[in-house]
């Protein structure tokens, strides 16, 4: 098969699955829906593998496959850019998606919206692939919005629940803020470069490096800086960076499989991918890079803190995701794009694993998500236990596992950077290691070790029933012992655990220090030497792991695990006492730094106030009264007149024709 056809197959196979499952879901039934979508994603995954091999052999592609519209010099087309960067993303997306598809069979087994769910996740896979394979800004934006839409649909999948509707609306609105910046950025690109094609824009970028723009009278900014910051604002929305992070924890209202697929492994990393793709632009602006780095550092550290006090198992993982996205963003800020993508990849594996394992725990616990009600599950769910442990170890950066290589590289790169703000960033990512280890193992110990609390602790759970995943409504009330999940649930866990272990040492050398990414990522090593210095000090994966035993991050991680162990297994009474002592601090964390309250008060309240004013004066009076109803009335009256003319009498008709001729004659014969 021609490679170009194969490129087309990758996004279109899941799309076909989505269409079949979505439109003919009733006809093909549950088994039909999951078969067809899994088949679609499987085909897509296999095609991605072939393409990956082909890219490794040095074949890249950049070209249009379909021209939508040509207007003057502007061509709006669908095109693919297949290079190592997109090949990696395609592989990650299709692999995680495949695992999640399989897992969903078990997780959603009793849900009435089974076919709809499969249709959505396949549609998501299509959109995400269109995003990463794009060779132009327009298609990037299409994919960007499409994944946002599917994310919205999936967060509100259980649309009868108040909290789910609130969460999906919130995600949608917050992302609008980001997308607004993104769209402005794309607009500026079009205005200054006259093209939306990546290659053309990147080619022209160095010539525009010194051009300035005056947004406010008397203030001149570099165009590139403004473009990069605007584009990055888009990334902040999609990749949940401070202060646009508020939607991600709430998105946990969606079913767990999509938390793994969309809100951990793929969609939220779209921002990271986008910035890496735009590296030729970001490299031209130190200001933008510093901005990126500082935002990432804040997210990495402060969102980690919040993870330390969460009691909902999915929210712990959600805050951990925020924090890890912050790490990736820091890596982007220090021009270590390849490290960011590397961490994106390893994170996709272990975080999807953690989410799916958390989902497995939730199934085992009959849809109770409160970790205070768990404990001692190790015996009952051995496979979930061991895979979740592997995931957690990878996440905290245990030397040898995948997370270690990517996270340590980020820390080292940050330390080597000399951009403005890199000192703070280095501190944040290093301190973050302790925090990560603490919340990960706090959750791990509370769930799998200690006393079995699920026999007694359900009174509290029933009161917060609204927060749970209890859509199935089965087993509610009767609390039997947890049980291991069916094979369709644990198989993906095992499949994801494998790369969580080995993907680090196997790929660090080619991806970070070889020329795997080639021309797809551009780093100006003179101005931003972090990556180069990293390369200098690298002596193989084994040496790196050994050396780590003597460095600060490792001992911080150990300290985090130890602290979690001491507080949650040995001295169970201590956390409560600490909480009472640290009143204000705890309240700040509990209120999530007050962002939600502020947003609710200022933006939501303000918007409602403004809205009601505009509604009363602008809408009801001016638009409804005059424009809409007024014009509708005029149209209606005209239509009535015209209708009246159609009397049905033949002589009226003949008369009208004669009048018509007469009028034309008098007009033209003068």
């Amino acid at each position: 098969m021609d490679m170009k056809t194969l490129y087309l197959v990758v996004p279109l196979a899941p799309l076909a699955g989505a269409i079949v499952a979505g439109l003919f879901g009733k006809a093909i039934g549950r088994a039909g829906a999951h078969t067809v979508t899994i088949l679609g994603v499987l085909v897509s995954f296999l095609a991605s593998l072939v393409i990956f091999q082909d890219v490794l052999a040095g074949n890249t592609f950049n070209g249009a496959v379909y021209t939508w519209l040509t207007s003057g010099d502007l061509r709006l087309e669908v095109g693919f850019l297949i290079d190592p960067l997109s090949a990696v993303m395609m592989l990650v997306v299709t692999f995680v998606s495949l695992c999640v598809h399989v897992y969903t069979i078990g997780y959603m087994a009793d849900d009435p919206g089974y076919q709809r769910f499969f249709s959505y996740i396949s549609l998501f896979t299509f959109s995400m692939l269109m995003l990463v394979m794009s060779n132009n800004f327009l298609q990037l934006f299409f994919g960007w919005e499409a994944v946002g839409l599917v994310s919205y649909l999936l967060i509100g999948f259980w649309y009868t629940r108040e909290s789910a509707i609130y969460a999906n609306l919130k995600a949608f609105l917050v992302n609008r803020v980001g997308d607004f910046g993104f769209l402005l950025g794309i607009g500026l690109v079009l205005a200054y470069f006259g093209s939306l094609d990546y290659a053309e824009v990147f080619h022209k970028a160095p010539h525009l490096a010194d051009q300035t723009i005056s947004l406010i009278e008397g203030q001149n900014w570099l165009v590139i800086t403004v473009i990069c910051i605007l584009l990055f604002i888009g990334a902040m929305g999609k990749s949940a960076q401070f202060p646009l992070h508020v939607w991600l924890p709430d998105s946990m209202e969606g079913p767990t499989p999509i938390s793994a697929l969309i809100h951990a492994a793929t969609m939220v990393t779209a921002g990271i991918f986008m910035v890496a793709r735009m590296s030729p632009l970001f490299e031209l602006s130190d200001t933008a890079l510093s901005f990126v780095m500082v935002i990432g550092a804040i997210t990495a550290l402060f969102m980690g803190f919040l993870g330390m006090i969460q009691n909902d198992i999915k929210r712990v993982v959600a805050y951990s995701t925020l924090s890890q996205l912050g790490y990736m963003t820091v890596a982007l800020g220090v021009s270590a794009y390849s490290v960011a993508i590397f961490h994106l990849m390893t994170h996709a594996f272990f975080k999807a694993l953690l989410f799916l394992a958390a989902g497995s725990v939730i199934i085992g616990m009959h849809h109770d998500q409160d970790i205070r009600n768990m404990g001692g599950l190790r015996k009952y769910m051995p496979i979930t236990w061991i895979t979740l442990l592997i995931g957690s170890l990878a996440l905290i950066g245990t030397p040898g596992l995948s997370g270690f290589f990517s996270k340590d590289s980020i820390i080292l790169a940050t330390q080597a950077s000399d951009l403005w703000g890199s000192g703070f960033a280095a501190f944040a990512v290093t301190a973050g290691v302790f925090v990560t280890a603490f919340y990960s193992f706090r959750m791990y110990f509370l769930v799998f070790h200690g006393k079995e609390r699920f026999h007694t602790a359900h009174a509290g759970h029933d009161q917060e029933g609204g927060k749970d995943d209890d859509h199935h409504g089965h087993h509610h009330g009767g609390h039997s012992t947890p049980h291991e999940s069916p094979w369709v649930v644990w198989l993906p866990l095992v499949l994801l655990a494998i790369p969580s272990v080995y993907a680090g040492w196997a790929y660090i050398e080619p991806m970070l220090f070889g020329d795997f990414f080639g021309a797809s990522i551009f780093v100006d090593s003179e101005a931003h030497p972090a990556m180069a210095s990293l390369r200098e000090h690298f002596h193989g994966a084994g040496a790196m792991a050994l050396h780590a035993l003597m460095t600060l991050p490792f001992w911080l991680a150990v300290a985090g695990v130890a602290a979690a162990w001491y507080l949650y297994l040995v001295r169970r009474d201590l956390p409560e006492r600490i909480r009472q002592r640290a009143g204000i601090l705890y309240t700040i964390l509990d209120r999530k730094y007050g962002f939600d309250d502020f947003n609710d008060w200022f933006f939501a309240g303000g918007a409602r106030l403004l809205g009601s004013r505009l509604w009363r004066w602008g809408d009801v009076t001016a638009i409804d009264g005059v424009v809409v109803n007024g014009s509708a009335r005029v149209v209606g009256q005209l239509a009535a007149i015209v209708r009246h003319l159609q009397s049905g009498y033949i002589y009226h008709y003949a008369f009208a024709m004669i009048i018509g001729v007469a009028a034309l004659v008098t007009w033209f014969v003068d």
């Binding site: 021209t67 149209v635 209606g636 005209l638 239509a639 009535a640 015209v642 209708r643 159609q646 049905g648 033949i650 009226h652 008709y653 003949a654 009208a656 024709m657 009048i659 018509g660 001729v661 009028a663 034309l664 004659v665 007009w667 033209f668 014969v669």
Partner: protein, 484 residues
């Protein structure tokens, strides 16, 4: 003594016409002797396919004249004829069940349909006022009879009567216009008329008079305002199977009529007819879109929608540019496809004793027949001109051509009226998807062939909308080859 100076004409360019003529007579004869009702049906389909084969086989970029310059076979004619056969085939297949239910499944319908097709073919290939008029009358007479096919239906007979009387009036206007131009230029052959006009005319007054009458006749055939009055009544009164036919293929012939007459013959008077067409286009857009809003009967609604579409078509023709002509050709071809589907759906949902012609009948269609509702939805959205359906590109190319030749205000008007028009198309979609159905279940006719064709028809509208380039290129090519 000279034997004769009337040489045997070259028959090859007219071969498709000859095939259809012979077969139409055969269908009539078979009807007399054959017991089988299906014979006419099968023969008609075969005839149209055979004609399509012949036309395809003889198609090419070259232009061939025959019958002493009265008949022309060029690329535009080939394309339009192929579309005519297609429309005929679709009409026959869509109508089968409907006709059978109403005891009209007889040779007359098929023979009349073939004669009408023949009339259109002659119109499409005419290069002389006489052939143009001959084709027009052949088409019209066949259509009058078809409308009246349901002899015991008062509305059908009334519609046929109106159509006939007004049609006769329009023919009179047309002939009067032709006679004036003949008096002015001394020829009835279109190409020679253009030459004569280029050389200069004795009286601008006579030219303008003649033009007005010709354009009025043309407006009647197209159903453009203010010569549109027959359209709603005939569409409404005729049996739906006939409405489907009247509403589709003759528009192709009328388009050819416009191009032959105005471009081939009267291009030198472009400045005059351009303004007449502009008046008619604006009136058609206004009346078509406004009146359609008030309709409760879908056949009437589609009739007014036809009027507005013809307004759009005129906008393309009046630019007088190559881009305008080819976009108008694209428009008429896609319009025929959409219109076939829409009327086909009305036919398909009707059954013995029940006409699915009220908009209320479409309430909640999605709940009962989601696929049919989906196809109808595609057709309606496409007619409204929404992307990604082909109707969007049809409107877009016309607007581009308009703006390109400096008619900005007309383009703005066209967009505004399309906006108003979107209302009534979207209302059908709303009825199908958001309203609760009536208590009595609506059962579509059990015609698998029609359902399959409907699906293809709807998907064609979608696929052509996603990949409009090939058809656009074909239209541009046909126009280019013909206008050289």
């Amino acid at each position: 003594m000279q034997a004769t100076n009337f040489p045997m004409p070259d028959l090859l360019p007219a071969l498709p016409e000859i095939v259809v003529l012979v077969m139409a007579c055969v269908v009539l004869l078979v009807e007399v002797y054959s017991k089988s009702r299906a014979a006419g049906y099968v023969l008609t389909l075969l005839t149209l396919l055979a004609a399509a084969g012949v036309t395809t086989f003889t198609a090419g970029p070259d232009t061939a004249y025959t019958f002493s310059g009265m008949f022309v076979d060029d690329a535009m004619a080939d394309l339009l004829k192929l579309m005519t056969y297609l429309a005929g085939i679709a009409a026959v297949i869509y109508s089968r069940q409907y006709l059978a239910d109403r005891d009209m499944f007889r040779g007359e319908y098929f023979a009349l349909l073939l004669f009408a097709v023949l009339g259109m073919m002659v119109m499409i290939s005419a290069s002389h006022f006489l052939t143009l008029y001959l084709g027009l009358e052949l088409l019209s007479l066949a259509l009058y009879a078809m409308v009246a096919l349901q002899r015991d239906s008062a509305t059908a007979v009334e519609a046929a009567m109106k159509y006939f009387v007004l049609g006769a009036l329009a023919s009179g206007l047309l002939l009067y216009g032709m006679s004036m131009l003949y008096g002015l230029t001394g020829t009835l052959e279109l190409a020679k008329m253009a030459e004569a006009l280029n050389a200069g005319v004795k009286s601008e007054l006579v030219l303008a008079f003649g033009l007005v009458f010709l354009v009025a006749g043309l407006g009647f055939k197209l159903g453009a305002a203010p010569f549109h009055m027959w359209v709603p009544d005939v569409y409404h009164g005729a049996p739906t199977a006939v409405t489907l036919f009247i509403g589709s293929a003759p528009k192709l012939a009328a388009f050819a009529f416009a191009i032959r007459l105005l471009v081939d013959g009267l291009q030198p008077a472009h400045g005059d007819w351009q303004q007449m067409l502009a008046v008619m286009a604006v009136l058609s857009l206004a009346i078509g879109n406004l009146a359609a809003i008030m309709q409760t009967n879908i056949k009437r609604m589609l009739a007014y929608s036809t009027i507005s579409h013809m307004g759009f078509l005129l906008l393309g023709v009046l630019t007088g540019t190559f881009a305008g002509y080819s976009s108008a050709l694209f428009y008429v071809v896609t319009y025929v496809i959409m219109s076939l589907g829409a009327f086909g759906m009305v036919l398909h949902l009707s059954r013995a004793g029940f006409e699915a012609e009220n908009l209320d009948d479409y309430r909640g269609l999605n709940a009962r027949h989601p696929w049919l509702a989906g196809v109808m939805g595609i057709l309606m959205l496409s007619m409204a001109g929404l992307p990604p359906f082909v109707g969007f590109y049809a409107k877009l190319t016309i607007l581009q051509a308009l703006v390109g030749s400096g008619w900005l205000w007309l383009a703005v008007l066209a967009v505004l009226f399309s906006l108003i028009g979107a209302y009534y198309y979207l209302r059908v979609v709303k009825l199908m998807y958001f309203d609760t159905p009536h208590a009595e279940a609506m059962a579509p006719a059990p015609a698998g062939d029609a359902r399959l064709l409907l699906s293809i028809n709807g998907l064609a509208v979608l696929v052509l909308g996603i990949l409009p380039q090939p058809l656009m290129a074909l239209c541009a090519y046909a126009m280019q080859a013909s206008l050289q």
